[in-house]
Structure formats: C-alpha cells, structure tokens
Amino acid sequence: MTATAIGAIGDLFSIALFILGLHYLNAPATARLGNRLAMVGMALALAFAAWQTLGSAGLPIAIGVIVGGAIGVIAALRVKMTAMPQMVALYNGAGGGAAALISLVEFYVLSNGGHGLYPVIGVSLVLSAIIGAISFSGSIIAFLKLQELMTGRPITYPGQQIVNGLIALAVIGLAVWFVATAGLAAPWAILALLGVALVLGVLFVLPIGGADMPVVISLLNSFTGLAVAITGFELGSTLLIICGALVGASGTLLTVLMGKAMNRSITNVLFGAFGAAGGTEVASASGGPQNVRSASADDVAVMLAYAQKVMVVPGYGMAVAQAQHSVKALADQLEKRGVKVSYAIHPVAGRMPGHMNVLLAEANVPYPALLDMEDANPEFPTTDVALVIGANDVTNPAARSVTSSPIYGMPILDVDKASNVIVLKRSMRSGFAGIENPLYELENTSMLFGDAKASVDELTAAVKAL
C-alpha cells in the first residue's frame, strides 16, 4: 500500500471523528466529548500530514506550527471568559488568511511551468483567495469592535452602498479576467485581487453594530469553511473539501439559528444599518422622563431579606459591570437567611449565546440554580422579588402585546408576573433594541439606579447589616 493510500485511510478516520464530534456538540451533556473527538481527529490528520510533508519542508513548517500553535494556545488560555467571541473571530480570521496565502503560494507553484492554469484550478484559486481574504479582514474588524478597540456603533456614511458595490464589482472583474487568461496576467493580478478582497472584508463589517458581531462571526466562520473547501479543490485534497464543507454548511445553519434566537433575520443583521441609520438614537431619545418609582438600596435589601423566593434576572448590564461575583455574594447572604435564590437565564441575554451561563459559572453559581426561560417563566407568579440586574430587552412585556414593537413576538422572561420587580440599571436608557420598556412604569416595579456592581455590593452590605 502506498503512503498516499495509508494517508487517505487515516484521513477517513479523522473525518469520521470530526462528524461524530459535531454530532455530540449538539447537546450539553456530550459537548465536551464532542470537542475531544474532533481534537483527536485533528491530531490524527496532522500526524499523517507531517509524515508526508516534513521530509521536504521541515523547517518552515516546524517554525510555523510552533509559533502559531504557541500564539493560539497561550492567547486562548489567557483571555477573559467574556472575550471569547472576539478570540474566535481572530482564530477564524487566521484560517481565512491561511487559505488566501495558500492560493498565493500555489499560484506561483502551478504557474511555474509557464503554461496557464486549468479552469478548475484557476477558479478555485481565485475563489479561495477572495473568500479567505474577506474572512481575514472582516474577522479583524469584528475583533476590534468587540474588544472596543474601535467603536461598536455601525459606521455609515452617504453613498456607502455605492462604494461597496463598486469594490465588489472590482473583485468580480479581476477574478473573471484572471480565470479567463488562465492566470497568465499574474502575479500582479492575484496580488491586486487579494488586496481588493481585504478592503471588501473591512467595508462589509464596518456598518454592522457591535451587538450583532456574534452573528457576523458565525457567518465569517462559514465563509472560512467555504474557502477551505475550495482550497481542497485547488490541492486535490478530499480532507480539506470535506472539513471545509462540513463547517461551511453547519456554520451557515448555525448563523441562521443564532439570528433566530435573537429574533433578527440575517439580512437585517448585515444590511440593517443602511436602512435605519440612527434609529436607536431616536427611540431612546423620545423616551424622556417616565413615570417610575426609584427605591433606595436599604428598601430593596429589606424586601429581599424577607422574601421567600427571589429570582435573579441577569442581562448585558451585569456583564458590562462585571458584577457576577457580587451577585453570587448577595445570593449567598440571602440563602443564609433562608431565601431561595434562582437565576432566570434568557437565551439571548447579554451579547452572545450562553453569555450569562459563562459569567455565572465563572462566579461558581451552582448549575441547578440556573433556570432556562421555559423553566423560569412558570416560577414568576410565585416569586416574591424579581431582581433584574442590567437586563432590559429580555424582560420587555411589549414583546408580548405591542404588535408594532420591533421585538414583538420574541419570547421574554415574564418578570412582571412577580410580586415585586427591582430593576438595577444606571439610567432610563434603552437596551440593545433601542426601545422603551413599559415594565419600568408598572405598579410593582422599582428602579435602583447605578452601576450594577456598585448597587449589588450596596445591597449585600445592607442585607448583612439587617
């Protein structure tokens, strides 16, 4: 049996492991097993690839793998839990960049002979260069936005759509011409193509708001998958084709599911900024002073200490204030007094799926105390105090009744059914959706203004003092 054949059989095992891994990643109980299986698959594939390539290109490959591996692992272990999404963006961008560079290298290798490229090779070379480059630069912008190294607000300017359209046309034109001439116009053509595609990636992500970045990252992730699959055609590698297609397809479906979970369509995420420039501003400005009650920390502390059942409803504000440890401390105080404390976790609370779970787990909140929306909602009618900590949209009763509301139809946490609602936030400003929350004007609602962490710490102190 030839080395290639042995490699192909090894690849087949890797592929099976990747698929099984993804399968198990669908359920919380088996997700870790799933990731481990995928890791084993990758190790196997890398071992076979090393066996076949290290002989001829040992040095550059060893340098690249060691440097890249070290950067990747160290960054992954150092980063804060809450910065995970932007790390995924960076890693994804790296994959896209690799695909684009492979096209560049392969172009030189293949056109070395002086004759042109076969159509299939030419087309895949161009496509993986373009898609990889878009994914690379787009992911970097997504990273910068989420890391708040640049404004998270949509960046729009007049004529933006025309500019983007023209650049996209330039990319297509260059690509067609490259394929038509079988790459003989190169090397400037392939370099120009890469350059313009990088610009397109930047422009594509700029007008999208920071809060939509998780969806965008997921989309760019499936782009990279696509680029890798096409690279597979370029290199004639079944392994790359299959893995790339797996990620491209599952990533696309995942993007749609993520959009659905926050009640946004993908087109709305991608192109929403063009239509409704400044919509957020208008809505929150029109809010003005509302008819709300505000309470002191001491009042609230008494209410909490003598309650039987308290439901904590965390949201984006808790993440911003990094208040999770303080919340845990407050809950401990209350539990000492015999109060039953649970947490109601809305699926899209915060800015990434699982955001609240990650934060609360970091603060060592026991897993069984976290209730899904389905389990939490029946509890509210028998809850004495619903303590809303920096959550807004996910508690907005307008989603149930006001058909004209942008979030109408989104399932929400029914905090208004609790006997008392305490809302911790800094001001009357709106949340992600940019709309007013009628919850704040209800009879049974009181506001405790201030930074979430500061407020919660005050509450803990006040409860202790009782």
Binding site: P28, S56, Y118
Partner: protein
Amino acid sequence: MNDINVFLGLLTVLVLAIFVGFEVISKVPTTLHTPLMSATNAIHGIVLIGAMVATASLINAHLLSPWLTVAATAAVTLGAINVFGGFAVTERMLQMFRRKDSK
C-alpha cells in the same frame, strides 16, 4: 486535477459533506451556539494541512524566492493559530458545562 472524472469525484464528496454539515446540526440549545461555532472554527483549521502541503510543493518546485517562503510559513503559522487556538478556546468554553452539584 485536470481530469473531469477526478473533479466529479471531489464534487460528489463536497455535496455529501455539505449534507452531513446541515443534518448534523439539530436542535442545539442556545447556550451551545457559541461553543459549536468555536468548534467548527477549529475544524476548518484543517487548512493548516493545506498550508503544509503547499509549503512542501513550493520547496519541491525549487522556487527559492524568500518572499514566497515567508508567505508559505505565514500560511502555516496562521493555520496553526486557527487549529490550536480554536480547540483550546472551545475546550475552555465547554468547561463551563460541567455540572457542579453545589458550591
């Protein structure tokens, strides 16, 4: 890859893999969206192998331009960041899913 039949074979594989990718995602709970995205991200790190193959073919073609060697090494580096970082970050996210029975 000039042979149409080879191309068609690869195309068949592509189509099947796309279907596997679509079908393998079923009712994922929202809490798993981010880990799943992160894991698929790590899997397309397989591009590292493409980078290794391309580097080897560059050397075998005796194209000794330093710029090309840098580009190939950069491709390998980026691919390695994708694979190793991707799996590490996924693993960290999933540590949050261990059931803790109590504090």
